[in-house]
């Protein structure tokens, strides 16, 4: 078994809902992330999929330390990041870096590419001596496939795909072990998507990085991930190896999600097992009792509203699946 580089234990993030200006009273919580347990192994890519509002981005922000968890712990190298603060937190952050979704807004338009990629060294001066920074930036730009001669250009002089490469170079500057990619290719055109995904895979092989790859595009995740976690309303409903999730999904939500993905093959039109879910994701400030998916689930019974199904393997599911009636259903045509 490879080494665990990151582990979360019962990770919870609630955002309080308050009323009033002078006398603030709390009247509820947005339960954005509610009890996430996951492990990330060295050198692997863990894909996290789910619809908007399911808590994937909050999870990312918790893991890089941009939000403090309400409860639970994030253990990296044996240290609980949730309990660190100040100087220790600053140093711990070096190890987990973030690649953001929108390459148009995540780069400061007034800074040159050289300054953007060198900024991590200003915040963490102990990583590289001042005289070496410029050389490092050159190396990083070359590593992500950009021309180092363009070091003095501004972000607007680059295309979307190139900007995402700048974001990746910045994330790599501090030599982290873990990179969190929050929808890294969803703002890019198909042909450019492929370039960026290839780059991410090359970097992983070269530098032994571990990725947490958050995306809503299931075919992109399938291509890059070794294991996949499916999230719904702040909880993981199913987790397993990519083949387990895509070829043998046992949770109804995963099945619906997979079957809804349009397939680039017109000959399968009308021959696919398409499950069209009714309605929208319920609001996370007042999630349904018991199983959170029951309001949109065609299998829901009495027990689903009273008892929350645990995320564990069962007789009919070899990998952990949080459903009382977990059962394999062939929606594979949705992804082939």
């Amino acid at each position: 078994m490879p080494e665990v580089v990151l582990e979360t234990r019962d990770l919870v993030k609630y955002f309080p809902l308050t009323r009033g200006i002078v006398f603030k009273t709390k009247f509820g919580d947005v339960q954005a992330v509610d009890g996430i347990n996951l492990q990330l192994y060295r050198g692997e890519t863990l894909g996290v999929v789910g619809e908007s509002g399911c808590g994937k981005s909050t999870l990312a922000r918790l893991l890089v330390g941009l939000e403090k968890p309400t409860r639970g712990s994030i253990v990296v190298r044996g240290r609980d990041h949730a309990k660190l603060s100040g100087e220790e937190m600053r140093r711990a952050r070096r190890n987990i870096q973030l690649v953001m979704q929108d390459p148009y807004t995540s780069l400061n338009p007034r800074m040159t590419v050289g300054d953007i990629v060198a900024e991590p060294y200003q915040i963490h001066p102990e990583v590289a001596p001042k005289g070496e920074v410029r050389k490092r930036v050159h190396e990083l730009l070359e590593l992500v496939g950009l021309n180092p001669d363009h070091i003095n250009r501004y972000p607007h002089q680059f295309s979307g795909g190139q900007r995402q490469r700048i974001g990746i170079a910045r994330a790599l500057a501090l030599k982290p072990e873990i990179i969190l990619c929050d929808e890294p290719v969803s703002a890019l055109d198909v042909s450019i998507q492929a370039q960026v995904m290839n780059l991410l895979e090359e970097l992983q092989n070269e530098l032994g990085l571990s990725y947490i790859f958050i995306a809503h595009d299931l075919s992109v995740v399938r291509h890059i991930a070794d294991r996949v976690a499916v999230m719904y309303l702040g909880k993981i409903v199913e987790i397993g190896k990519d083949t387990e999730i895509y070829d043998h999904p046992t949770h109804p939500y995963t099945q619906a999600l997979l079957s809804a993905v349009p397939v680039p093959d017109p000959t399968l039109r009308g021959h696919r097992d398409q499950i069209v879910l009714q309605g929208d994701v319920p609001s996370p400030d007042n999630p349904p009792s018991g199983c959170r998916f029951r309001t949109r689930c065609w299998k829901a019974q009495e027990i689903c509203s009273t008892t929350e199904p645990p995320l564990q393997p069962s007789q009919k599911s070899a990998h952990p699946s949080a459903c009382h009636f977990a059962e394999e259903r062939d929606v594979i045509h949705a992804t082939q």
Partner: protein, 347 residues
């Protein structure tokens, strides 16, 4: 409950319209944007036809001119900087570009309607959705507020918005993304158009909601015998709903074919490369095929075939003007490539 058809198609008929002519025919359309940086040639001679009950997909990456085509058809191009410099857009044989502003306003919504990618910015945030729907009936049909509101509720029902009677008084921000898209579809269908242009209708939505909306659009199209132009970059969505596909690159149609042929045997290197860059199950763990380089700037489109700097089939002839014309290579299949035989593997 659905809007009954007899009452619905009472839109004023268009003078000179020939009911036997194609629903919409675009011929040699040219659009340019005159900017400070130079003249961007967004559309360089695009021709196609759409008929009733047919779904034509326009497929391409950002900047290929697919949305500008839609704007030109609707007559909502930003002028300046955008100018239509040539060509015809014929609705049932009538050239829309020769009509007055008022006539075109009548044609919009009555004959040709459009839905946009981002419903939140397409709807007016300070009016209720009921008001925005009723407004159409009042302006175009001279209905009273009460009658208009009744029709508005019927329409919200038609696009399957639950509790339509109550929701009609809600503002756009009170709807979820998918529901908002349904409201926009309701507004587009209000005056029973014959042609619906859908510009990336599901790009901003989650996959489960995307499936709902695409199914709804397909049902409505079948019920109302509409023609549809679907503009998208998503090869998956296209495979599910389109009858025919136009692939656009740098303001030109580079391939046109029925949906099955395109996916089975593309005839243009760009289409082929696009299909190969989609992540696929059987290629997991391998490098994805990428199209090297970037789409060209519309201000300086490469000489000859615009795709030649990125093309693996390119030869010297591809760098020479004029660019290869879109010509028929098989019945119903056209390609704008000198080497279509090699691309198809027919050579």
């Amino acid at each position: 409950m659905s809007v009954s058809h007899a009452t619905a198609r009472l839109s004023p008929s268009l003078a000179g319209a020939d009911p036997t002519a194609p629903l919409l025919a675009v011929e040699d359309l040219r659009v340019e944007f005159r900017t400070r940086a130079g003249v961007a040639k967004a559309i360089n001679g695009v021709s196609f036809e759409v008929n009733s009950r047919e779904t034509l997909a326009i497929l391409g990456e950002s900047g290929c001119g697919k949305s500008v085509t839609a704007q030109a058809i609707m007559g909502i191009l930003d002028t300046p900087p955008g100018f239509i410099t040539g060509g015809q857009i014929r609705y049932r044989g009538v050239d829309l570009l020769k009509r007055t502003h008022e006539e075109r306003r009548q044609i919009r919504a009555n004959k040709i309607a459009m839905i946009f990618q981002d419903a939140l910015s397409a709807l007016n945030p300070v009016f209720t959705v009921g008001f925005q729907l009723t407004e159409l009936f009042r302006k175009h049909r001279g209905m009273s507020r009460t009658d208009g509101k009744k029709r508005a509720i019927e329409l919200l029902d038609l696009v399957r918005i639950p509790a339509a009677r109550k929701r009609v008084n809600d503002f756009p921000h009170q709807f979820s993304g998918g529901m908002r898209q349904r409201v926009m579809i309701a507004i587009a269908l209000a005056l029973d158009p014959e042609l619906l242009i859908a510009d990336e209708p599901t790009t901003a939505l989650d996959v489960t909601v995307q499936a709902q909306i695409m199914n709804l659009l397909a049902d409505l199209q079948r019920e109302r015998h509409m023609g549809m132009i679907l503009i998208t970059h998503d090869m998956g969505v296209v495979a599910d709903v389109a009858d025919r596909i136009n692939v656009m690159y740098a303001g030109r149609i580079v391939e046109r074919a029925p949906v099955f042929d395109i996916y089975a045997k593309p005839s243009h290197p760009y289409t082929k490369a696009l299909l190969e860059s989609i992540p696929r199950v059987d290629l997991k763990g391998q490098q994805l095929n990428v199209i090297k380089g970037l789409p060209p700037s519309l201000i300086s489109i490469p000489r000859g075939c615009a795709f030649n700097p990125r093309c693996r089939y390119a030869q010297d002839v591809c760098k020479q003007d004029p660019p290869p014309p879109l010509s028929q290579v098989q019945p119903q299949i056209s390609s704008a490539c000198h080497f279509w035989k090699e691309v198809r593997g027919d050579a």
